[in-house]
Symmetry: C3
Subunit: 151 residues, 3 copies
């Protein structure tokens, strides 16, 4: 992984990071660790690139857990979009992805794991605000709660 | 629906809103009403989350109308992207969406209706400019016309 | 194609362009030429709209080339995302797209060609930095290299 900060810095303005993942990097772990190290408290994440394999999830409302869908083949990352917010006192990454297979068909879901090959070009756009997640027992998930958020 | 304004305010700089929709909210109506209330005249919209049902459209060039495609099941909102511009003297929302089903396959189109469950995390990034739509009879739709736009 | 510059200008802040493509415009050629003419050295590209036909690619790792997938029908551009960086001394556009067909199914890949009908609403968000691509022989592609990038 290599990265650089671009855009305005040192003020309340939005700043941005360009992060390029290397072959073999796992996207969720790498970007989660980056978010913790940089202390991100509210950010928007987008990316394109490709995976040599991924696991996506579909949230099963009755079981209150993600059903895992394995995409065990080389695939283009057609869309990767999501955010970073504070949950359990640390930055949490939440991203969804659409993947393109060799015949042009697509698969997608909540991104649980993505093994990069050859690259993933990520832009993280920080916000001066802070966003916090609150656990919602009726749903079984922690969701962003603007009323609990400072900034 | 809950929201907060983030980013720079009070200047010509770009400002942004984080809007979190609640279970049962209909995305298009809720975000259209928000755009009118805030007086948005040019903005970019993105979101992730999930719907318990949605209707998307494919524009039928011969019939000059959208064919309606109903997705009557719980689905992840993998990508939701679009814009707000002024048409008929008020802000109009135009968004496309890709939806992920339980088996990881996807459906998508021009988003006509989306019933949120459990959440939709939306970012609206305002622009200091104004964008206007002009009806194009040869197409049957009002399209953004930068030449008709101030700012 | 028509366009206007929106957002802050004349400083180190991020500026943005709204570009609206016309029926018959080919998206990759039009946006590549725009990037060269404006001298973009680092930018993020997003769009929605529709194509009357497109060709997308899936990168074949063994052959070191894109497999071409032709989508020869009217389709909604559900997601178009990517970036501009400097390669071979000029701005190079790299975008991925998800396309929605008449039955709501989707196709997608690395966008090689897209013939616009009736519109493509594009936002290009420039960054004050410069991003450079470096050819990576082990991959067969030029990839963004933050370490080789100024700014």
């Amino acid at each position: 992984m290599q990265w650089k900060k671009v855009g305005s810095t040192g003020s309340a303005d939005v700043s941005a990071y360009v992060i390029v993942l290397d072959p073999g990097d796992e996207a969720i772990a790498t970007l989660s660790e980056f978010s913790r190290r940089e202390g991100l408290s509210a950010a928007q994440v987008t990316a394109i690139g490709a995976f040599e394999g991924a696991t996506v999830g579909w949230y099963d409302r009755r079981r209150r857990q993600y059903r895992r869908i394995v995409v065990d083949e080389q695939c283009e990352v057609l869309s990767l979009a999501g955010d970073v917010a504070i949950g359990d006192e640390e930055p949490q990454l939440h991203v969804h992805a659409v993947l393109g297979l060799a015949d042009g068909s697509t698969r997608g879901g909540h991104l649980l794991e993505g093994r990069v090959w050859p690259t993933l070009e990520v832009i993280i756009r920080e916000s001066p605000a802070e966003l916090r997640k609150t656990f919602r027992p009726e749903v079984g998930l922690a969701l962003i709660d603007p009323r609990a958020s400072d900034g």
